[in-house]
Every structure is written in C-alpha cells, then in structure tokens.
C-alpha cells in the first residue's frame, strides 16, 4: 500500500507537469498580452513592462517562472506588498516567515484585480453550489439505486431506472432553464436567479448563515447540477448491488438464518457501495464543469459564471488559472479516490 501511494504521488507530479505545460503552451500561443489594450501604450513603456514581468525571456524561462509562481510554495521573510504581481492565494505568517503559495498573476481585463482576487470572491460560491449538488446526487442516487436493485424487475425498479435515464438524458443546459421557468417564473415559488450567501464565509467557503434565505436560492441550481450525477450513481449502485446479492457469502448468510434486513444492510450494502466510490472522480469533474453552465443560467456570481465571462472577454490569465486550478484539484481528487478504493477493498492489489 505504501509503495502504491508513493508511485501514485510520483505519477501525480508527472501529470501536473504535463497539464501545466499543455495549459501554458496553448495559452501562450494565443496573441495579446497583459499590456495590449485598445489604446496602445508607448513602445518604451511596453519594453519596460515586458522586462519587468519577464515577458522578454525565452519561453521555457517564462514557463518556469509561471510554475514557480503557481505551483511551488515559497517561504520568505519579505512581507507581502500590494502589487498585483505579488498576490498569493495562500499567504500565511508562521512565526517570522511567510508561507506563500499560488500566484496566478493579474487579470488582463479587470485592471485592478488579480486572478486570485477573482478566485477569492467567486470560488467559495462555486464550492457551496458544488457541495450542495454532490449532496443532491448522493441523496437521490443511492436510495434510488438500492431500491431498484432490491425490487428488481418490479414497478419500483422501472421507476428508479426511468428517473435515471431522465437524469442522464436531460443535461443542466436543459433542466436549468426548465426549472427556472416552472418554479421561478410560472409558479413563483423560488427566486429564479441569484445566490443567498455573501462574504465573510465560515472556514473560507461555508455560508455564515444556513437558513431559508440560503436554501431558497440554492435548491434549484443544486438539483439542476446534481440530478445528472445522481442518475449515474443510481445506475452504478443498482448494478453493483445486484451483483453482490448473488455472491456466495450472501447465500451463506441466508443459509445460517440471518434476518433479511441484516443480510442486506450488513453484508450486501456495505460491499456493494465500494465500487460507487470509483465514480466520485468523474463525478467531481462533471460537477466542476457543470458549474460553468449552472451559474450562468441561474445568475449565480460564482467562479463558473466568471469563467464563462472571461472566455467571452478573452481574459487568458483567468482562463489558464481556472483550468489549472480545477485540473489540479481533479487530478488530486482522483488520486484520493483511488487510494480510498484500494483501502476499502483489500482484494484490489495494485502493483
């Protein structure tokens, strides 16, 4: 197990390098720079600025510079300044030294803001939405799958699988506007757009107050974003549980006269839910990219909506920073999922 984790961590570093090279390379090949504006700056000024921000360096040096800023943690005794080039997402004072990490640089379009400013303002909201959607996916998906498997080939099974096929066939892009129209505009039960939490956040991302004022905004977008994933979970749970209840040890449990409830809960469910863990990796990815659409449809001021706007504005530092941050998050999440899976199921032997 220790060797497996060590090998996976090594692999993680390779993946992160490749991801950062591809991201940096593609974004760098796009014309325009931080100092190209509608009204051209004097040539001298651009020269000075390019030299100041290393834009004259060879490409590989610029890449190393970016990686150094974004990925390598820094320990320094120099206190942070207010410069736009000196804004780190993680900046903690430990005794006399500063621990500083992840500087994505300034935004091209919002002159006075850094990419990190945008992250700080918008990411917590996306995290709230994502967590809510994940809960929706689990709370709807797992019971549906369990019910369908236990009552296989009955009306309950067909119902569960119909909901699942509805979930996979109706993407956020369809379900979102539909919910907005039905519950927001026609019935007026819920506010069609907006978000109910404002900074400051508890622990950096949790809304400071949970209540109707938060949930009335969160219900529709969370369902729109989570339903597709709940369908995937339901199908997987059903398939896995159906396979488990045909195992020999379930027959043994039945033969020795255990109560049906105990057989299901203690023997079947526990083992059948292990494969469901593997879906969490792709699930996170779906939720992350889903926020781009969900937040735009529901007018939620999160990172997803900002990301879509930054694509229209061609704000490349924001595009690159967001993709890199999300990619790193997803790659690490996948690693954690794999390790948890190996831990939960001792039959899995990675070598």
């Amino acid at each position: 197990m220790g060797r497996y984790i060590a090998r996976r961590l090594l692999y993680l570093i390779v993946v992160l390098l490749v991801v950062s090279i591809i991201t940096f390379g593609l974004m760098h090949a796009v014309p325009g720079g931080p100092f190209s504006r509608e009204k051209a700056l004097p040539e001298e000024t651009i020269k000075v600025l390019n030299a100041r921000y290393h834009l004259d360096d060879p490409l590989y040096l610029q890449y190393l510079h970016y990686v150094n800023n974004v990925m390598i943690p820094h320990l320094t005794t120099v206190p942070p300044t207010n410069s736009l080039m000196d804004d780190y997402l993680v900046s903690v004072k430990i005794g006399p030294v500063w621990f500083r990490w992840m500087n994505f640089g300034p935004s091209y379009k919002s002159r006075s803001r850094t990419v990190n400013d945008i992250f700080r303002d918008n990411l917590p909201i996306s995290a709230q939405l994502g967590t809510m959607a994940l809960l929706v996916a689990l709370v709807i998906g797992m019971p549906l799958g369990i019910m369908a498997a236990l009552k296989q080939n009955t009306i309950l099974d067909y119902f569960g699988m119909s909901v699942a096929i509805f979930g996979v066939s109706v993407p956020v892009i369809v379900l979102g506007p539909l919910l907005v129209w039905i519950f927001g505009v026609a019935l007026k039960w819920l506010p069609p757009t907006g978000w109910g939490a404002k900074p400051p956040y508890t622990f950096g991302f949790l809304p400071s107050k949970f209540g109707w004022d938060f949930f009335k905004f969160a219900i529709m977008p969370s369902i729109a974003l989570g339903l597709g994933s709940s369908a995937v979970i339901a199908r997987l749970t059903r398939a896995s549980l159906l396979q488990t209840i045909r195992e020999d040890y379930i027959r043994t449990a039945r033969a020795k006269g255990l109560k049906e409830r105990i057989i299901i809960v203690r023997h079947a469910l526990k083992n059948s839910l292990i494969p469901v863990v593997t879906i969490l990796g792709p699930l996170f990815a779906a939720l992350v990219t889903g926020t781009f659409v969900t937040e735009t449809i529901f007018g939620i001021p999160g990172m997803g909506k900002y990301f879509v706007t930054s694509i229209t504005n061609r704000d490349y530092p924001v595009i690159m920073g967001t993709i890199l941050l999300y990619a790193v998050f997803l790659v690490i999440a996948n690693l954690v999922v794999d390790i948890v899976y190996a831990y939960l199921d001792p039959r899995i032997r990675y070598d």
Partner: protein
C-alpha cells in the same frame, strides 16, 4: 463463441456451412434490438432526426440567419396559451410557427438547422474517436511489451487531464489565435475550413483529441484477450502478416464492444457540443446550435421562455433517443448477455 466473418468473406467463400446455419452476431443483435421497445422508439426518433437534418431546407422554409428587427420576440397565438404570462406584453404574429428570436430570426428554422450541428457531432465524434483509438489501441495491444508500456503511459497521463477542461483550453486556443494568422499559412487554411463549417471543424478536433483515450484503452484490452486465441495462432501459422491478422482476424471479433461503447458515448458528444456553444466556444454565429440558442435565450427566459425551452426540448428529445438506442444496442450486442434469454 463463433468466429464472426466479414460480410464479403461470407459471400465470396460460397459455402461456409458454419455461418449459414448459425445466426451471425449482427442478425442476432438485430433480432434483440427490435424486441426492445425503448430502443425501437429511440431508433425511430434518430432516423426522423437524420431526415430532418438532411431535408432542413425543405422543412424550414424561412432562413435561419436573416434578421427582421421589426419582428423581434414576436410569437404566434398558440404560444400565448402555452405561456399565459406573456399575454400582457407579447406581440402576436402568424409568420413564425415557434416565434421569432431576440433579433427577429425564425426560431423554428434555427431549431431545425440546429439538428444538423448536433447530428453531425453525433456521427463524426464517434468516428474520429474510433479511428484514432482503435489504431492506437490495436498497435499497443498487439505488439505488447515496451511499445505497449510507453503508449499506455502516454494515454494514462493524457487521461488524467479532465477532458472537458482540455477541450475548453483547446477551443480557447483555436478561437483566440484567429486574429493573428497570416494568409497563406497552414493555420490560415485550417481556419478557412473551420469558417466554412460554421466552427464545427475545431469542435471535431477538440473532441477527437480527447475522446480517443477511452477507446484506445478499451481496444487494447480487447486485443490483448483476442490475440491469445487459437485462431490467431492458426492465422500466424499459415503465414498471415501482422497487418492482416490485426484487421482481418482480430478487429472483426472485437468490434462489437467498441461500437457499443461509442454508441453509449454519443449523448456525451452531443452535450459537449451544446456545452461549448453555450459558453461561447462552440459554433460560430450565426450557425444555429441548440446550445447557443439556449445560451442566448436564457437571458430572456422570464419574458420569452419559448426562445430557451424549445431548443432545450429538441436537445432533450435527441438525448433521450440516443440514450435509448445506445442502451438497446448494448443489451443486444454485449457478448456477456448473449444466450441468456
């Protein structure tokens, strides 16, 4: 399991008693497919969609790109009874069956032509993915050893890059470099091709560069299992070349699961295109895509829901159809299910 013979071989060989007595895999699959009611409904809708896309100019009489600014947001009477909230302000017209959009284009025409974009993606996406993935996976699996190891590590690393983020990155790159390209270069020519296809060409490249990885892994696994079989040994003994073994003997035997996997992936390709068009990286305006129509309409959903909900409905029906058909095909072709009924 019987060895599947290619159609041409069957005809050419004259008397191949084995394949004549038993049902071929495809006949067997077809029989299962038509017994599956959901799959038949899905298949019928897919055929109707294909016809709609092919004959779009005859179905949609109005142009999808002509803007009649005086007709902005006008709706026919029946939409008012469907969405009564629109009654106080909506202007009624009889010219547009589904109404006009926010710049006065015919919504019905745009939805009909939008089927072209979605269906092209539904067929070209799997094709690209199959071609690249099968070739890559076959080489990796057939030669094995060091070649296999290196090729699969490359796939592993690329696979770890979340594919939708990768596509967004590629599309932002493609769409961003356009202004900087000099005429006469290769990139310029590619951009011209993309322009003439309304932006679809880059979508295919984006999908192609990400979707083949799954297919390559699947193919490799199938090839690994198939190459140990006796009939491959037999083919090798009589002196068949590697290329012949790969394409005449292994490929026909593993193609079933690969096709099923691609069919199941079709809704994913469709939603990728609508997703890209929604966030502004998909087709170029004025090419109508359901994704860009939903995106444009969603800002007006409170006042003119028809502009969002109709393209959304078209997309949902298409997704349902391909999901039903894909599920049906899987059940019909999955070798593990064969002979169980």
């Amino acid at each position: 399991m019987t060895q599947v013979k290619l159609e041409s071989e069957k005809l050419g060989a004259g008397g191949a008693p084995l394949t004549q007595k038993r049902e071929s895999l495809w006949q067997d699959a077809m029989r299962r497919l038509v017994r599956n009611r959901a799959a038949v409904v899905g298949g019928t809708i897919v055929i109707l969609l294909i016809l709609t896309a092919l004959f779009a100019p005859y179905i949609a009489i109005k142009s999808y790109e002509v803007q009649v600014l005086s007709d902005q947001n006008k709706v026919p009477q029946w939409i008012l009874s469907l969405f009564p909230t629109m009654k106080p302000y909506a202007q009624v017209t009889t010219d547009y069956p589904f109404g006009a959009d926010y710049v006065g284009r015919d919504l019905f025409s745009r939805i009909v032509y939008g089927a072209r974009v979605s269906l092209t993606v539904a067929f070209i996406g799997p094709l690209i993915s199959l071609i690249i993935g099968v070739v890559y996976g076959s080489i990796s699996g057939y030669f094995g050893g060091k070649v296999d190891n290196v090729m699969m590590r490359i796939v592993d690393v690329l696979y770890a890059f979340p594919s939708l983020l990768f596509i967004i990155l590629l599309m932002a790159f493609f769409r961003g470099t356009i202004s900087d390209i000099q005429p006469g270069t290769f990139a310029y020519a590619v951009n011209k091709i993309d322009e003439s296809m309304g932006g679809l060409f880059f979508i295919f490249i984006g999908i192609g560069l990400t979707a083949w990885e799954t297919m390559a892994r699947l193919t490799r696994g199938q090839v690994l299992a198939a190459r140990e079989k006796e009939y491959i040994e037999a083919a090798r003994t009589i002196g068949a070349t590697d290329l012949r073994i790969m394409f005449r003997h292994i490929l026909p035997n593993i193609i079933g699961p690969l096709v099923v996997s691609e069919t199941l992936a079709i809704p994913g390709y469709i939603s990728t295109e609508t997703f890209l068009s929604f966030i502004g990286l998909g087709v170029n305006p004025p090419t109508p895509s359901w994704g860009s129509m939903i995106s444009e309409g969603s800002g007006l959903i409170r006042s003119y829901p028809n502009q969002t909900l109709f393209p959304a409905l078209a997309l949902a029906i298409t997704m349902f159809a391909f999901n039903f058909l894909g599920d049906g095909l899987r059940d019909a072709l999955d070798p593990r299910l064969r002979g169980t009924q």
